[in-house]
Symmetry: C2
Subunit: 324 residues, 2 copies
């Protein structure tokens, strides 16, 4: 089970590899929000998202003999790249099982980061779990799950340790931390780190409209799905339900979920580009959208929001900037 | 005159205000360049460019009584915002004299950062120097020049101190530092800092095709202009001639200048967005363009390039990304 000891151990293993990402701000964003806003720039992490933290943590935590056989992941996006690059830096093989209809660029990037990619037919009834089980049986590779894995959550928690240190350096002891929330790995890791090192900061998960399984689950006190297909504008964070390991942590430590609209996400992406000079993908911009446009739902005081990923499709991203 | 002592004093005054910007990299860029490439992300500096370093240095170096009367600058771009924000943080007034045909967004941003903006008619024969002299006489404000100012060069040199420390931490002792070069303030400051703290790193200034006054001057051994109007794609760095203070430093310390094409700059901007998740303006991308596409002109070994500014016009920027 992930606890602060496991997170601190992940940070020790991450030293010199995982980037400490900056906490950025702009007077223009403060003015829109009516309060100080700080952006935790995880888009600057290796592979363009916080997922490298969890990938590195999980791969580096494996016993050497087991690690040497390689690692395996299912992912159509950022987790794929995070695990592939973590494996490559450890000089061990990785296999990523991706849907055949994933964006060509993400498949290409995952291969370029050193992974063997196995494509499966999402519509045609092929089960990625069956492919994964076969690969595990044949090659003895370790499966790295995207969020329901204690060492992955611990890795994402290193982002929370940095937020605790960076806010302390700014003299911030009370405030709200908004996280971009899919399966809850980043949110749970940050919440555990802040519980130990910055208990005056309250974590509030943010999701896009229609995909608010975490907000619903927090309100209901139990894991609840949103009942929608796993596809949409904020593709990086559209998990059907909070995780088995992550939800109890969220339930114990987080405030209520916040839901933002797609238009708010687009405007947050444009403001991240013009005011912070950062490329943020839709799923990575929901927390900033909440900071800027949902202030009424937040307690007074400064807000820290994760910009959790920047792997936007170039054409779609250009169109969003052009529409501003 | 700027020397390492003045730069280190500027760094002391900058502590806790000027951001230490990260040195970023991507295996995808390394592959294109065929060598390790590191990007000094000055787009993440306050006001979106390294110019805040020089502005802060100059304003903070003024005697208190003089500073209280305020500061004055001529600029259509990044220097305006850097000086305006430095003055605002010191709670002293600033006047920025800008051409009436400057982009509306840059005028608006400069005002929003606390400056009083005086517009002049560039085509109609109004002399900005006359307006400036009148303001100085009436209000006793100190003029902060964009590059030919010892304290401004010292402030830009703090970027070089950071490069020296960051490369040392990576174990890099030999290599090339490519700078985006206009009047030479950043290039001179970095060259002085590296001379003292990382003498194995050679600075090479980079300019856009047709505006290569620094490359020509270095080749000629004396200040030489490019003879073109001060307008074009890489607007932030289109000065007519190297500075009186900066050129002797460049001449003593820098290698030959490098010239890049506009198409190379556009491709570098797209790669900065897709691989580093950074918004870079044309003038801020010339050094990366040289790192990626002019390797034959460089000594072997790693390359560090400044991404010196990110204040791109949103519409033009979106069009460049869309054309990729």
């Amino acid at each position: 089970m992930t606890d602060i000891t496991l997170i601190e151990a992940a940070q020790t293993r991450a030293k010199g590899v995982v980037r400490e990402t900056p906490l950025l701000s702009s007077p223009f964003l403060d003015e829109i929000a009516g309060r100080p806003v700080f952006a935790k720039a995880e888009v600057l992490q290796h592979t363009g998202s916080f997922k490298f933290r969890g990938g590195w943590s999980a791969v580096s935590a494996l016993p050497v003999a087991e690690r040497a056989k390689g690692v395996l992941a299912f992912s159509s996006g950022n987790h794929a790249q995070g695990v592939a690059y973590a494996a490559a830096l450890h000089a061990v093989p990785s296999i990523i099982i991706m849907p055949r209809d994933a964006p060509a660029l993400k498949i290409e990037n995952t291969r370029a980061l050193g992974a063997e990619v196995i494509l499966y037919d999402r519509a045609g009834g092929e089960k990625r779990e069956e492919i994964g089980a076969r690969v595990q049986a044949e090659r003895g590779m370790s499966l790295i799950k995207p969020f329901d894995d204690a060492q992955v959550i611990a890795g994402q928690g290193t982002c929370g340790l940095e937020i605790a240190a960076q806010t302390a350096a700014l003299g911030i002891t009370q405030g709200t931390v908004l996280t971009c929330c899919g399966g809850g790995g980043l949110t749970a890791g940050i919440a555990l780190a802040l519980e130990a090192h910055a208990p005056g900061l309250t974590v509030r998960p943010v999701e896009p409209e229609g995909f608010d399984d975490t907000a619903r689950s927090l309100a209901a006190g139990e894991r609840t799905g949103h009942g929608r297909p796993e596809a949409g504008f904020c593709d990086a964070i559209l998990t059907p339900m909070p995780g088995i390991l992550t939800f109890p942590i969220l339930h114990r430590l987080c405030g209520a979920g916040i839901v933002v609209t797609e238009d708010e996400v687009r405007e947050a992406m444009r403001l991240a580009a013009s005011r912070l000079k950062l490329v943020v993908e839709p799923g990575g911009a929901v927390a900033l959208a909440a900071a800027l446009f949902h202030g009424a739902a937040l307690a007074d005081g400064p807000v820290i929001c994760t910009l959790s990923g920047g792997n936007a499709d170039p054409g779609a991203y250009a169109a969003i900037l052009a529409a501003g």
